[in-house]
Amino acid sequence: MTSYLSDVAVLARKDLLLELRSRDTVPAMLLFVVSALVVFHFALPSETAESDLAASGLLWVAILFTALLGLTRAFVAEREQGLIDALVLAPCDRSAIWLAKTVSVVCFLLVAEAFALPAFALFFSPVDGVTVAAVLLSNLGIAAVGSLLSAIAAASRTRELLLPLLFLPLAIPIVVGGVGASVAEEPGRFLGFLGLYDGIFAIISWASFEYVVTE
């Protein structure tokens, strides 16, 4: 177990270091999420109760598409430089590659959300603790499912098309849970639903990653 976690830490550190060096993904995610919220701000009629409710949904749309942007690039280095071969050959458990990628995607999402949530509060309405909790829970699900699907898409020639087609349908429960938690009187069951989604999809992704990266 210690060696497994050590492999995850080594691989996640590598992903974070690569992003720190190249700055390819996180700045794009930041610009996208803030731009999307600005566009939504001008697209919605202001000062109505309906617009506040709609804005809650738009926050989740913005987060989901920002995540998609990051996920599209999650396996870029491995794909373009054939590095997935080297990682698959290494004697570590292959699910460690998925878990490390999931950790790095969560980190990227946290940075994007550190800007997105204040921007949302500025343009729309204050963000309460429940929404923050829902966002944090959804990050786990997005990263877990997204990292697996990103690896699947990376092996395809039509990867840019394939990833959204695979990811968005599977992300619908995240939107349901996230919006529900943001607007419901009793958000507990929606947070529980997000937690359940995270757990189920993390286990499925963890167990199936080996089959995705080997022929």
Binding site: K14, L83, A90
Partner: protein, 194 residues
């Protein structure tokens, strides 16, 4: 160590390898030759476990951690330095006395002075030297080398010649090359793919 019977590999409709029979004994050196597209790289990828055979039988009696593989790509992260790349692989392979081993390899392959520079700034030859360092880092029992001399200058090629000469007695090799004349003196068996 490696035994293949009627080994075939297809990608969709295209048959890349057909009914290959080959045996490589422990300590042997198999030299694989053939024209472009004859399936040399595919054969090495099959031996490495990166591909599954379409037909036939393949047995490679060596653990994954004891395989060193050099492919067409150097399989190193271009935004990391050579030390960072080798540290990454050294940790994943649990190489004992990792730092000393990395330092020794970088020095031997003439990359010591450039060890803190990003690989993206390296020439093709330097990247190939680093690929060899990566493949040798964990002191593998089986070395699968696909065009190992590609991109190497005369000094690099001489270095690799020396390395092969040192290792050939104690390791098992499968080498695909367009320059068989460089390797014939090491080879214990040959396989010409059509």
């Amino acid at each position: 160590m490696i035994s293949a019977r009627d080994l075939s590999k297809r990608f969709g409709e295209k048959e890349v390898l057909r009914d290959v029979d080959v045996e490589v004994a422990r300590g042997g050196f198999l030299l694989v030759t053939g024209r472009n597209g004859s399936g040399k790289s595919t054969l090495l990828r099959l031996f490495a476990g990166l591909l599954a055979p379409s037909d036939g039988e393949l047995a490679v009696e060596v653990e994954r951690h004891a395989v060193g593989y050099v492919g067409h790509e150097p399989l190193v992260y271009r935004e990391l330095t050579s030390v960072e790349n080798l540290e990454l692989y050294g940790r994943l392979y649990r190489v004992p006395e990792r730092r000393e081993r990395i330092g020794m390899l970088l020095e031997r392959y003439g990359l010591w002075d450039a060890r803190h520079e990003r690989v993206s700034t390296y020439s093709r030859g330097m990247q190939q030297r680093l690929a060899l360092c990566r493949a040798l880092l964990h002191d593998p029992e089986l070395l699968l080398l696909d065009e190992p001399f590609a991109g190497l200058d005369r000094e690099g090629a001489t270095l690799l010649d020396g390395e092969l000469g040192e290792l050939v007695a104690t390791r098992t090799f499968v080498v695909a090359s367009h320059q068989p004349e460089r390797l014939e003196r090491f080879a214990t068996a040959g396989l010409a793919l059509a």
